[in-house]
Symmetry: none
Subunit: 196 residues, 4 copies
DNA sequence: TATGAATGAGCCTTCATTCAT
DNA sequence: CATGAATGAAGGCTCATTCAT
């Protein structure tokens, strides 16, 4: 057999890497970082332990890659909302997308909250996240201020807390949670001139 | 010499037991269940590993005792609010107490959210908690209905999500979070006839 | 209350000591020396661990006392057979008593065979036992020689092996073993002029 | 570099597995199951503790494998005797092989008797063994009946007890035991028309 | 005489990581 | 690129023994 071409190899690499990350995320999310073994990840990804170490230097590096990817995805999701001019519509879109995110990225969500609660696993992440949260809060505060709302800072903090709270409940209750109804209620409350 | 009296022993046992539970909670909260070793708990409690097993049959039993105590404490906190007649005042008191709880019982709070997110550790807890959540939601829904609010079920779900969301943020940000201001905003929004 | 008299104390001591030894024997016999914990012995004897150490300096000392008692009992059992003059009758009585012993002292029997097979537990015992076996073999050999049997040494070794073999099977099969029938067969074979 | 071929791995596994079983048997036999640590087995086999668990899921599984192998070996040893037509010769061959076995498989022998005496370690084995013993007894009874001997059942039970009794003594006395002489005596007694 | 809290060494087992192929 | 055998440290748990009362 002829050897693989370089681009074939690159493709394989990328695919294997993705498989590992998906497997690790699925397990970390449900069992936690310490509760997930390298063996379990390799099994889930259907590769050997040795190969896994070819792709990632250690368990923590896998976690780092997951977080990196996850945050990037989130940033992408919100990147194009900046062009929305009307602050109320902007807020409505943020509500819509945030809650959709919790629904579609359940695993990442579980992991990310867990990591925030247990800073011991990876203190770095704490810092990185707080920076992200800070900038999001600032954006939201600006929107509320532009909308002429009283106490824009507190309203911003509250709405962001609502995102996490609703996301949390939606994930925990899973099938039983009326996410759409709650989302609508929120949009009704926030997506118009007079805050309810 | 005569042996210790039974009450002397009971006192010793109660004290040591409490120390162990406190130590375990402090560690579980920050490092997670799997991330906390029995050794660490024993060291923190300043007792030997062996003695720890004299008090608890295993790591999981410690967790169970912590959860049991924690839930009992929470139920106590809300037990006497039933007598409040005015639904708005009732809601205001619930807001007040819930958020105070997150602040004062930070460790339990961290642990409890983590457990909900990682059902693998103790599936039992999931069930027990969902029942608790269900009954709380029902109570809250009734209050909103009594208050003549539209969509009482969704409003109830939302407010409970807010409790957890704000609690989460308060805990994560710790010193930087203006919990009092957010609490006031909430009370202003919910503690009066016309929901804002 | 008046203090106990010295003789009352002595009585208590003797009784407690016996209880401990019985409990230990029952457990050692079934679970083995290493498989039996001090805790288990104390529980079985319904006394505290501390008290147990008042009576015996350690686990091994308990074993020693058990062996000592057991061997003494066996020696007693055979002591008065020396007066029997007819070698065939003598042999018949030895068969009778040996096999009865296995039946009545099951626990000691189990323990004693186990110790012989696992000399590591207590090498001392090995020596002590071999001496006992040697003297028993000599006695038996003399009986066979007096009876005019060919190969008295080998016959002696064989008969003693039969004792242990039958005892072993009787114990292992317990209820299902026709010990009486086998005993009769043996007495028929050995208790008469012409060996069968 | 390419990974080891499957057959290379199989060879390694088989070899290491055998080493572990041999080491474990040697130690279990002398010190008993509870008296033998995993550490001791690994040291004896000159592998790491971790590797041992790569091969066996636990201490008990090692024991099971040993028993399984041992019983298979014994069954092999007796499998081809069925063709012998003359019952006396058949019995003589069984005597020969049984006692040779005790001599050559000393370790397994020690272990197997110990396990029978201490059913607590592995109750399953008890059952499995009793079935084996039952079928052996049936075979032997048939032989005695074919040979026209009186009380064939009791004679069968007795001879099997003799196997175990002589084996036991041969093992305990080790170098000092005239196994050949006793074996000859037995063959003289049993290997001919008129039982002695 | 009697109790049971307390200790620490050691045991069984798991797991992140390395290495030979 | 890929495998799985191998290691060693650490984790959960047990247990003989000591000690204060």
């Amino acid at each position: 057999m002829s050897p693989r071409t370089e681009s074939q190899n690159a493709e394989i690499r990328e695919k294997t890497r993705a498989t590992i990350l998906e497997s690790a995320l699925a397990l970390f999310a449900i069992r936690g970082f310490h509760g997930t073994s390298i063996d379990a990840i390799a099994s889930h990804a259907k590769i050997s332990k040795g190969l896994l170490y070819h792709y990632f230097a250690g368990k923590k590096k896998i976690l780092e890659a997951i977080i990196y990817n996850g945050l990037a995805e989130i940033e992408t999701l919100f990147a194009d909302t900046a062009v929305i001019e009307d602050p109320f519509q902007h807020i409505a879109v943020l509500i819509e997308r945030s809650l959709t995110l919790a629904d579609s990225n359940e695993h990442f969500w579980r992991l990310y909250i867990s990591l925030l609660l247990q800073p011991d696993v990876w203190a770095d992440f704490q810092t990185k996240f707080l920076a992200f949260a800070e900038s999001t809060t600032d954006l939201m505060e600006r929107l509320f201020r532009d909308a002429g709302v009283e106490n824009p800072r507190e309203e911003a903090l509250l709405l962001l807390a609502i995102f996490d709270g609703v996301g949390l409940h939606a994930i925990i209750n899973r099938d039983g949670y009326p996410l759409a109804a709650v989302k609508n209620l929120l949009i009704k409350k926030y997506g118009q001139k007079r805050l309810l």
